[in-house]
Each structure stands twice: as structure tokens, then as C-alpha cells.
């Protein structure tokens, strides 16, 4: 048995814990009702000087997601004049080649008349049960056609066919993309407008 002169180590520890406890009430009183349930309150609880209650109460409060947040990929389409959806994807296959677990299957369309390959996907399948959310597909796509989504509320009661996303399920509009990735979308639109300008 070690001979310890029992000083106040345990009591000091208890003091620290109690001060954390009382601090939660003091912070509540100082910040008032706006501390919970509002966007500013959530932001306040993420700062480096936060003290008091640290909980972000999902599902009533949600943490703001940063722009780079990556969940699952989706294909971007632009809106055409007659309301049709123009996919940006040209079925070049780079995303399928660079995907680490190889969860992307692309079937390149062939021109019905000549039989030569045409730059559109006839079929595009991603198995979301294998996807590891690395973001390589979005990073290496030369046409800004596939990007990472922010929607993480995907829990379901079954898997298999429902988790194999086909072309219909993967297509989302460019306005949705700009709403979740504002700075990146602005930069890419500017770059695309630059390239499309007629050479003087």
C-alpha cells in the first residue's frame, strides 16, 4: 500500500466539476432565451469561448454544414429552355476510374444511327452501400458534372436495390448545387462563362 498524504486532489477535481455544473446555469441566465433554438445561439455554442451547455439539440437545431461537407455524390443538370434537363456528364469515365471502392458503373450511350459512342450516359449507377464518401469523383471530374451532396438523413429500413441509385435518382439541378456550394458554384460558373466567351 502506498503511503499517501491525502491532500486535496480529489476535492479540487470535484470543485472543477461543480464549477462546470453551475456555469451552465450562469450562462443560461446571461444569454437568455435566444441561446437555444436560434441560428445565432448555435453559432455561439460553436465558438472557442463557449461554456455552459454544449449540446446542439438535433432534430430541432441543426449544425450548419460547411460547404465542403461530403456525403453522397449526385449528378448536376442545367435547365434547358424548354424545361428539359441537360446533364453535364459526358460519360468520360474518370469518376468510375478514380473511385477507390469502384462503386460507379457508367454505360456510355451510343449514337442510335451511327453506333459511335456519344458523350452521354445511357445508364449511371452508384451503389451507395459501398461509397466511402471520399469525394474523388467530384474532385477529378473535368466537367463539374458530379458533386458531393449534403443530405445525410438517409436511414432506411432496407438496402440493396433501394441503395443502388440510378440516373433518375442521382440527377439534381444546378440551382440546388449552387444553394449548397455557393462559392464553388460561383467560381465554376465564372470559369465556364470565360471559356464560352467568343475569342476576340
Amino acid at each position: 500500500m502506498k503511503n499517501f498524504s491525502y491532500r486535496f486532489g480529489v476535492i479540487r477535481g470535484l470543485g472543477v466539476t461543480l464549477s462546470h455544473f453551475f456555469q451552465t446555469y450562469i450562462t443560461d441566465i446571461k444569454k437568455g432565451r435566444k441561446h437555444y433554438g436560434t441560428v445565432e445561439g448555435i453559432e455561439d455554442r460553436r465558438q472557442a469561448d463557449t461554456d455552459g451547455i454544449f449540446t446542439i439539440q438535433y432534430p430541432e437545431e441543426r449544425l450548419p454544414l460547411p460547404e465542403e461537407f461530403r456525403v453522397l455524390p449526385f449528378l448536376v443538370y442545367d435547365d434547358g429552355e424548354n424545361g428539359e434537363k441537360i446533364l453535364r456528364c459526358t460519360a468520360c469515365g474518370i469518376c468510375a476510374k478514380v473511385c477507390p471502392p469502384q462503386c460507379i458503373w457508367i454505360n456510355r450511350a451510343a449514337d442510335p444511327v451511327t453506333g459511335k459512342p456519344s458523350p452521354h450516359p445511357a445508364d449511371f449507377n452508384i451503389d451507395m452501400d459501398i461509397c466511402m464518401n471520399c469525394g474523388f469523383c467530384a474532385e477529378y471530374c473535368p466537367f463539374d458534372a458530379i458533386k458531393m451532396d449534403h443530405d445525410f438523413e438517409l436511414s432506411s429500413l432496407d438496402r440493396g436495390e433501394t441503395h443502388l441509385y440510378n440516373l433518375e435518382k442521382l440527377m439534381k439541378s444546378a440551382t440546388y448545387y449552387a444553394s449548397i456550394h455557393p462559392t464553388a458554384a460561383a467560381l465554376e460558373d465564372a470559369a465556364r462563362a470565360e471559356k464560352a466567351k467568343p475569342k476576340a
Binding site: V10, I104, W105, N107, N125, C134, L164
Partner: protein, 579 residues
Amino acid sequence: MTEEMLINPIEKLTEQFPADWLKADERSGYSGYIVQREHLLEFARTMRDDYGFDYLSMVTAADYLEEGFFEVVYYAYKTIGGPALVYKVQIPRTDAVVPSLIGLYPGADFQEREVWDLLGIRFDGHPDLRRILMWEGFEGHPLRKDWKEPFFEEDVKPYKSRWPEGKPVFIDKENPFDDNVQYPEGFDPDHWTPDQDTLLYAGLVKKASNEEFKTDQLVVNMGPQHPSTHGVFRMVVSLEGETIIDLKPVMGYLHRNHEKIAERNTFLQNMPFTDRLDYITSMSNNFAYALAVEKLMGVQVPERADYIRVMMAELTRIMNHYFATGFLLNDLGAYFTPSLYSIEERELILDIFEEVSGSRMMCNYFRFGGVVRDVSDHILKKIHDLVYDRLPRKLESLDAYLTNNEILRSRCEGVGVLTAEQAIALSAAGPILRASGVPYDVRRADPYSIYDRFDFDVVTGNHGDIYDRYLVRVEEIRQSIRIIKQVLRDIPAGPIMTGKPPYQVRVPAGESYGRVEGPKGEMGFYIVSNGKPNPARYHVRAPTFINLTSLAPMSRGEKVADVVVILGAIDIVLGEVDR
């Protein structure tokens, strides 16, 4: 020894030894010496005793199928610092036996068992050569190049079946058993008895029974489902009362075949898989892998990228040490309060990682030649607030309520002692090695990236017990804060990547070993490339796997309740132990 040899002892070893013992490795991109199998033990003993290479860091093997041989690779270092001594033994595939170095370096124990398990090379003289990651009775040696796994599609990625005619297939349906299994020909499960771990239990040391007093030896399995084993890890202990006579760790419950999958991947596709090795410190793993491949490719990293890399690595170290301290106290019985406080700090750091890389844990942030995204001023300000204001304050409060806590001190002082000689012989790394008094830190001993520009101390302890390990971790947080302050002061503007990287990275032929001082120890990647887009051999030197060799010597004679705390102080992560 001449003066030249004292300074560069490993440059001209062929002149010091008889000609038939060793020759230099002349293959392009390779380094080191090829030793003849018969003289391996003598050579290793001479290098350890006369030349001072007392720390055997890595033992692994590679399968050169076309050339027809196996090559067992050894990397040894001196604890006073310096570059590596690399030596290899080449043996034919039909006669794969090599003398074991366990008598000289006990730390080679688990690594040799892993080579036997995955490649089928026998080690003569190893006292307990059983499989370590797979189970006894498994058919085949998986890492051999001619062994195909059940869900085998093609030799290398990218698979041709994905584009341009990609029809999605659930690969389970292709297998006749609807699962990832294959059986040898003629196998009849009804006429076969399973192995009951007989070799494991037979190897457990039991005390000789006293004739007048019949005592019962109790063999207890702790794990794999146990609240204290930090993941799926199993310890088989033989007890006399509450005191441990012997302990054998059993791992492989999370063996996810990282190395076999990596041989099929291209170099770039391996980066997200390295995130999942030590899943708490994903930035550090990325760092080590990027260093290993950049050595082969010969690319230079821009300065700003180097500063960002160091900053992310040190933030990861802070986060990991907080987490480890919280869980050490969990193991001691302080039911969750310290770990809740530590996880609070970790969440704030994870917020930064999420903004920078897109994901809290699986960052996938480093590339060959730099980092993916730049760090904006907003994030630099956040890091500034954390490092100057919050982290030192919270560290003081952690110190205040934990360091002099009587319960912590009486349970941790003098428990789980590892002397310095033991630690070096057992190839321990990281806070365990330093708490035993050996000031070996890869950032100082063999500096990589720009660590030679920063001013920080290497933290050591004196007693080598659990309390010292806790103190070393807390002090390392302080040193990391110091480094980040210097990074924030000096970070230059500039590009973060050399050129636009292609998605098919061509790596010249050769071998390289890139290592970093991860939070848990020396994390290294051994890569052999033959010029193709996929690595020919890829091995991870996992620090916690090798640190577990010291678990048994540390626990003999301690109580059962202490072994839980000893395991907590080693701070294991199963993703790295089992790969």
C-alpha cells in the same frame, strides 16, 4: 573502424563483412543490403552490438512472383537518431524459411507471426509461430500474389467492367454462397472438426501446482466484446487469484485486408483507405503515406502546403492525446466525466477539420505534392482562438483536476513498468518509449517535412509507468500548441499543390519507407513500386500493433484490474492493429 565508418557506418558495409555474407542492393530505386540467409543472425547481432543499431523498427516481406522469390525486409535504427539500416533476405518461394530475429530483438515477435500468417514464410526459432490476424485453420496465405480472394474481380483497379459498358452487379450474387467465402476442393463440413484454439491455450504459461495445496488456474478471456478493450481485442489471461501469470493477446477481429486491397488500388485510391487505419488520427496517416510516395516520385511540396500539413498533424496530436487521456480515465473508473470534457475539445477541433476537408474523421486531405484545399483566413482565426485561448485554459483545468488526484496517482504510479532497455528491445514507439526515458521522437531523430524549423521539446518520463505516460501525453499537448503557434506566425502565402495532379499517378520503380511521428508512435508505410499505376507491395508499420508486444511483459505480476489500465495507457486503435 575508420573515422569515415564512425560517421557513416552503413555506407560501406560490404567492406566490413566477408563477401559471401552480403552485397549491396543494386536494383534501381532500391537501397540497403541483401544478406545471405545463413549469416543473417550473425549480421544482425554485429549490427546491434558493434554498430549500435539497437531499435528494429519494421520487419516485413514482399512477394516477387515473376522473379520467383520472397524478400524479407528489415529496417533498423539507432536510438540516438539517424537514417535507417535496411537489409533484406531473399529466399526461394519453394523453400520459404528464414531464421527468426526474436532472440536479438523481441519486438519482432508479432511482425514475424504476421509474415507467416499472410505470406507463409516460416521463421526458424520463433517460439510461438501461430497465425495472428487470421484464425488457425484458415486455408491459404492471403498476401501471396497467386492467392485470389472470393470476391475477386480483376487484378488491378480501375476495373474494366465499370466503364464504358458498366452494368451494376451485386457481387454477392455472383458467388455461389451469396457471401464472401470460398472453400477448398472436396471440403465436407460435416466430416470436419473445428479448431478450439488449442495452440493458444497450450502456449499459456501456468504456474506449477503446489503438491499439498491444490490451486486452480483460471484462464479468462477478456474480450472481444468488453467495455474496456478499446475495440474488438481479446486478451487471454491465466490468473492465480487476481494476479496475472501470463497474458496472450489475440487480434484480427478487425482485419480488413487493407494491404491486399491496396495492392489492387492505384496509388491515389489508397489515400482514403489510409484514413481508416488509425481512424482517430486520419490526418497523420495521410501524411505518412503522402511522404512515402513523394519520396519515390521525387516531388517537392510547396512551403505553404508544408506548414498546413504540420498544423493539421499537430492538431491531430492534440485531439488524440485528449481522447486517450479521457479514455484512460474511463478505464480507471472515472465514469465518463473526463472523457466528456475531452470530447468537447475534440469536437471543436473536428469542426475545423470538417470545414477544411469536408469530413470530421475521414479527412482525405493530403495529396502527392501538397494538400487538396487551402486554409482560409477564417479557419486560421478559429485555430488561433483555440490555440491561444481555449486549449491552454482547458489543459490547465485538466491538469488541476486530474494530475494530483490521489486515486489516479495511487492506481497508476508504479503500475505497468517498462524499463528503457525493455522498451527499445520490444520496438515500442511513441509516448510509451518516451515515458520509459528514451528520448526518441521521429520529428527530431530523422526530421521530415519542415519539423527542423520548429522549436519544441521531446517529452520524456523517468519511471516508465502509467502515470508517466499520462504526464507525457499532457505535456506533448503543450508542445504541440507551441508548434502551432509558430506555424501560425510563420505561414507564408503561396500555392498549396505543385501543378494540377493527374488521377493516374505514375510512380517510378523502387521501394520507399515514409514515416511520421504519429500520436501513437512511429507510423510508417513501406511501398514497393514496379513502375505500374498500382503498388507491388504495400505494408503499414502500425505503432500500436508493435506496442502490444510490450503488453505481456508489463502485465505479468499485476492485478486483473490493472491490466485494463495498462491497455488504456498503450492507447490502441484496432483499425491500426489489425489493418
